[in-house]
């Protein structure tokens, strides 16, 4: 399993697309927002936590279809399915690799982009914490969507339609933590809910993803 993780990470580094693409998209979204809503600092600092969350979510969405598509095309997915790894393990590792190549860079870049949106100083910590806690859930849910659409030719758009409604609870609680943190309010309740969603999806959703993947391989 470690080998699979290392291979996916190595591929992401070599192919370039992995780390760079999501980050660049995140940057573009956050840079475009002030052009859209105007440069007024007060407004920007108020919407900054939400914008950072939306940007991270969209950047994450962008790379979902790559989770299984390449392995499907070159036949590795068939071979992995006959390997002594449990399918649940494979999808979990795939989600983890996606998080490390996409989610983690987004988490780390968020404070830097927060500067561009004049995020209040009290917000940096909570944006970082909420994204660090929430992006794994985004990767795991996204892996489920990618497994659903793996054999389809134009699965990209369908994947977004399927995954976006599933992202709603994570987005609401994550952005709420970031917003309350930025405004100096208590964050305990949404933070606990966000953690609950993350751990819950991490524990349960791989079973659904594995079942879906088996159906798609047959």
């Amino acid at each position: 399993m470690i080998a699979l993780l290392l291979r996916d990470l190595r591929l992401a580094v070599r192919a370039g697309g992995g780390f760079g693409l999501g980050l660049a998209f995140f940057l573009i979204v956050t840079v475009l927002i002030p052009f859209g809503v105007g440069p007024e600092t007060g407004l920007l600092s108020r919407i900054a936590p939400g914008v950072l969350w939306i940007g991270a979510l969209l950047a994450c969405l962008l790379s979902l279809d790559r989770i299984f598509a390449l392995d499907w095309e070159d036949g590795s997915l068939d071979l992995l399915a006959t390997a002594p790894l449990p399918m649940e393990g494979i999808v979990t590792i795939k989600a983890l690799a996606h998080w490390i190549t996409t989610g983690l860079p987004l988490v780390l870049a968020a404070p830097a982009l927060g500067v561009l949106l004049s995020l209040p100083p009290s917000g940096y910590l909570w944006v970082l914490v909420s994204l660090a806690l929430g992006t794994p859930a985004l990767s795991v849910i996204g892996t489920f969507g990618a497994a659903l659409t793996v054999g389809l030719k134009r699965g990209g758009l369908l994947l977004s339609i399927l995954v976006l409604p599933l992202y709603v609870p994570t987005l609401i609680f994550g952005a709420e933590v970031a917003r309350r943190g930025a405004e100096g309010l208590a964050v305990q309740t949404p933070l606990l809910m966000l953690a609950g969603i993350s751990f819950g999806t991490l524990a349960l959703l791989p079973f659904a993803s594995a079942a879906v993947l088996r159906i798609n391989l047959r």
Binding site: I161, L164, P169, I172, A208, R218
Partner: protein, 242 residues
């Protein structure tokens, strides 16, 4: 004689063919009675004025939008556990009906909200939940139509329906937490005295019955259609193979 006999497509078509006319007539009767009663023969509410008449569409549609999803969930579970084709096709047939009911609930809600709250759309928990429910319906239908093999599609959509149900519930609580909302409490509960006066309550009940019957009739009809379409494909496949 067990209920599972009706899972046989032929048996299902034969049975529903007998029931369908009655259900359809009953649905039309109930809807016409309820709506006419509600529209022409009920007084205006002292607070909401004539807009109270929207209740006869809004509440039943909203109720059935949720119940349709629950029915799809049950049908999906039956498909996963017992693999009865009729069950999977019934879930497929119910999805567009549920989606349309969701749109009706949203549209009437917006039209009601405009004079009451002074805005077409508020990110009120209930409205937002229905919007999310609508997105779930869209995704579900899109997945059905994207996959060519019928059984694979049935398998994948049932799992999506299961997972989606969990996330829909989660969204419901998330949205409640996120915005406490303008919407009045449920207009309908078992202790009706608290909410709706009898004058509004009885026509509303008839309308709800009408929507339920309409849903049943549409699902029967559409499931029959799906079964016939599958049968046509199966016959053509057999023809080309022999």
């Amino acid at each position: 004689m067990s209920i599972w006999e009706y899972a046989n497509p032929v048996k299902f078509i034969r049975t529903t063919d007998r029931i369908l006319p009655w259900v359809s007539v009953a649905a039309v009767l109930c809807l016409v009675t309820g709506l006419v009663w509600g529209y022409f023969f009920t007084p205006d509410d002292y607070r909401q004025g004539a807009t109270v008449k929207i209740i006869y569409l809004h509440v039943p549609a909203a109720l059935m939008a949720i119940n349709a999803w629950i029915m799809m969930l049950v049908a999906s579970l039956i498909w996963i556990v017992r693999r009865h084709h009729v069950s999977a096709l019934a879930a497929r047939a119910a999805a567009p009906v549920g989606a349309i009911f969701t749109v009706i609930a949203l549209a009437t809600g917006a039209l009601w909200g405009q004079p009451m709250w002074g805005t077409w759309w508020a990110w009120d928990p209930r409205l937002t939940s229905f919007l999310i429910l609508f997105l779930f319906y869209l995704g579900y239908m899109a997945l059905w139509s994207a996959i060519e093999n019928d059984d694979t599609a049935a398998d994948l959509t049932s799992i999506l329906c299961l997972v989606g149900s969990v996330f829909a519930l989660l969204s419901r609580y998330a949205v409640l937490f996120w915005n406490q909302g303008l919407h009045q409490g449920a207009s309908l509960s078992l202790d009706k005295e608290e909410n709706v006066a009898d004058v509004f309550w009885y026509p509303l009940l008839v309308c709800i019955a009408g929507f339920v019957l309409l849903f049943v009739a549409l699902v029967f009809l559409r499931t029959q259609t799906e079964i016939r379409a599958r049968r046509t494909r199966a016959l053509l496949a057999r023809e080309s193979r022999t």
